[in-house]
Every structure is written in structure tokens, then in C-alpha cells.
Symmetry: C2
Subunit: 241 residues, 2 copies
């Protein structure tokens, strides 16, 4: 096994938020394994990189990762687990031929990314593999930049939490941190707006949808948002200062 | 006032972790205001960008920001406040001549950066100013990538907290999150090692010093580290999984 597997953070959407390192490695790898959320859809990661990386002549393998909820305390959904294994098997077969393989992943690989699961599955199946994680601009940092809201200053503490947690847990976190980033808000927006109102935090919250993309929206009055129209790429930053 | 003020995240140290956007804006701005931590020292941000950005002919203004503790609940130290004002005044005088000004800042601007304070001070002094924050690769994401440890997966929650908090607060956070990133550990390392040992978390912790730089160290056995030799750029990731 001579090849190296690169999991590469490509940032939140704007192709200009790729790093020089991501650009160099994506350009130099012959094989790209790219994730997509819908069987018949397109890969968002591929759509980002094709604007800045020359892809002609490369082998591009799209792999469908079902968008199902993952609970870390339970065994993964069989379809999700199968996708990780399929991706890892594909990568391993290419590494064995001596080729390097790149796996572009949205945002930063360490934050809720398909790339990290694939890398971990690969290392379980073939522990001798050489893997490299290349950090990228996170959606969290991009949301903060767009909204002009700092995440941490001085002795601030920040919590990042999926908005799908129950109100009790959310309230506890909302009340003990200066900055709270609520991820994956699109399906629970109505409940979150009620909770933030109850906690007197509505004026401290800002919603960022599709951060860094041309269609980005920054919404300060959360009561104006219809839950059913929100894109999957939506986060709320609550800042108590 | 025609110019725009760009606060630009330049990543954690490896010049290749600059984004394409950072590179373009730093190359196009005639004036660069760069922070440095010691009056007689060099700017780390400048040392990073000079490897990839052509600087010949640019006006480079170094401003000393004293490295003093900032408590958000108290008024800032007068020396620190004076530095923010000095930086903001300098930027404003350049913007008024119609020039764009870039302020490169380490890591991501939203996470404990001098750039964000300067931007806020500038907007207080001259609210009509046009400012743009350009996100960068955070030290947190780079640490996770180097150590091969994810920050969040599935329904994980992450907390980012300065290690200088008291043990009671730290213990509370350590016990209620899956991932805890302890920042600024270099002066309190011995206490943190004792605390992690008491909490049975020593085997779940990894220290990353100077992430992404040539001199990076990844240390899994924290008991081998001498506090007095640790660099300022040191973080610990504790992951309970």
C-alpha cells in the first residue's frame, strides 16, 4: 500500500475559501472520491472545487452517503455504515495500486464531516494506511465572519451543539456559555425561536444560511423565518455579550 | 471614506493554509497593518504571509498588541485598549485616503483574535467604515487534523474554553461535553494534567503545540511535558469517545 489518503476540507461554499494546500493536493491526486447526500443528486464538495481545481483526466468517484441522523451512543444506521465501508473499500483498492486519493469534504473535516468517518473506517479495515487530514475553513468561522460576530474573545467560552437536542439540554448550554453555535437548525427552527424568546436571547441571535455562498442570507430577526424554507446549511450564533 | 478594512484569517502557521481569498486580498491591498505580541519582536502573521504574498512596495505598519489577559466582564487593560485604538486610528486614516487596508490575523478572526477587537474599535470610532472579515483555518481545526481526532461527529457537543478557568468550572465542562478544547494551556499545564488525571481523562487528551508549523509537536502522554518549555501556541483536545 503506497498511496496516501487525503481528507481535505474545502471550506463552506465559496471556492475562494479553499486553502493553497487543498488546491495543490486536489490538483495532484489522480483519484478523487467525492461525497453526495442524494443518490441522484450532485456532490456539493465537487461543485465547489470544480471552479478552481483542474479536473480533466482525473478519476472522480461519487459516493452516496445517506443523510440520516447519527447518534454516537448507538450503532450507526446500516445504510450509513454501508456507505462508509463502500467509500473506505474504494479508497483502499486505489491506495493499493500506489495512487494517492483525495476526499474533499465541506467545511473543516473535524466538524461533523463525512470525511472523518470514512477515514476512521478505512483505518479500521486497513490500519497500515497512510492518511492525512487537511483542515479547512469551518462553516462556524465563516458564519461568524459573515455576521460580524466574534465567537470567542478574552475569557469567553464557546459551545457548539446540534439544535436537535431537547430544550432542557439546550437551555443549560445557552445559560452557561457566552457564545453558542446551534448547528442543523433547519428542521427545528420554530422550536428554537420559541426557546430563544423564552430565554430572552432572541435579540442576541443571528441566523446564517448558506454561509459564504452567493445565496447567503444573514437574518437578525429570527421570527421572520419560515422553517420549511430553510436550507440544510443553516446555523444560529447566540452571543450573550 | 472610500477604503475597505479587511480582517483576514491567515491560518495557524503553515503558509499553505492561507485561503485563495486571503492571498488575493493581501496581494491587492497597498497597506498592511500587522499585529505583533512583543514591542521588539516580529509579527507572526507577517512571517506566515511573507512566504506566499509578494510584499515589495507595500506599506507595512507593525502594531504592538501587549499580550495581557483580557476579561470580558471587566474594562480592558489600558495598554491593550490603547493598542486597539492606535490600530483603529491608523486604519481609519488610511481608509480616509481611499486605500484598502488588510489586517492579517492568526487562525480564524472570530476565535480569540486581535483583528476582531481592532475591527470593533474601528466601528465604534468610525461607524460608517466598510469592514469585511475573511474567515481562516482555525488553530482548533488544525489541531484536530494533526492529531487525527474529530471535534464533533453525529450528535456530539463541543466546548472551547480557556484553560485558565478554575478547576470547578473546567470539571463541569469536561463532564458535560464529548469534546473539550482547552486553549492557552501553556501557563497552567501542570494543574491541567493533575485535573485530567483526577477526572480519569488523561488517556483521552492530546496536546498539540505549534499546530501546522514545522516545529509542531503532538504529545499523547501529557505527563511527559514540562510546563516551562511549552510554547504559547499550545492546545489540548479532550475527547471522551
Amino acid at each position: 500500500m503506497n498511496g496516501t489518503f487525503y481528507v481535505i476540507g474545502v471550506g463552506p461554499g465559496d471556492p475562494e475559501l479553499l486553502t493553497l494546500k487543498a488546491l495543490r493536493l486536489l490538483a495532484s491526486c489522480q483519484t478523487l472520491v467525492v461525497p453526495k447526500g442524494h443518490e441522484d443528486g450532485n456532490s456539493t464538495a465537487l461543485a465547489i472545487i470544480e471552479k478552481v481545481v483542474p479536473l480533466a483526466g482525473k478519476e472522480i468517484i461519487e459516493i452516496h452517503f445517506p443523510m440520516k441522523k447519527i447518534r454516537m451512543s448507538a450503532a450507526p444506521d446500516p445504510d450509513v455504515d454501508a456507505a462508509w465501508r463502500r467509500a473506505a473499500d474504494t479508497v483502499i483498492s486505489h491506495l493499493r495500486t500506489g495512487h494517492n486519493v483525495a476526499f474533499p469534504t465541506l467545511g473543516d473535516p473535524a466538524i461533523y464531516s463525512t470525511g472523518f468517518y470514512t477515514c476512521q473506517t478505512l483505518l479500521e479495515l486497513a490500519p497500515e494506511s497512510r492518511t492525512v487530514i487537511v483542515p479547512g475553513v469551518s462553516a462556524i468561522g465563516a458564519c461568524a465572519a459573515s455576521a460580524g460576530v466574534p465567537l470567542c474573545q478574552g475569557d469567553d467560552m464557546m459551545a457548539v451543539i446540534p439544535a436537535t437536542f431537547d430544550n432542557e439540554r439546550l437551555t443549560e448550554v445557552l445559560n452557561s456559555f457566552q457564545t453558542i453555535v446551534l448547528m442543523k437548525v433547519h428542521r427545528v427552527m420554530d422550536r428554537i425561536v420559541r426557546l430563544l424568546t423564552e430565554q430572552g436571547l432572541l435579540d442576541h441571535a443571528v441566523l446564517i444560511e448558506r454561509t459564504s455562498q452567493d445565496t447567503e442570507r444573514i437574518i437578525h430577526d429570527l421570527t421572520t423565518v419560515r422553517q420549511d424554507e430553510l436550507h440544510y446549511f443553516s446555523s444560529i450564533i447566540v452571543r450573550r455579550r
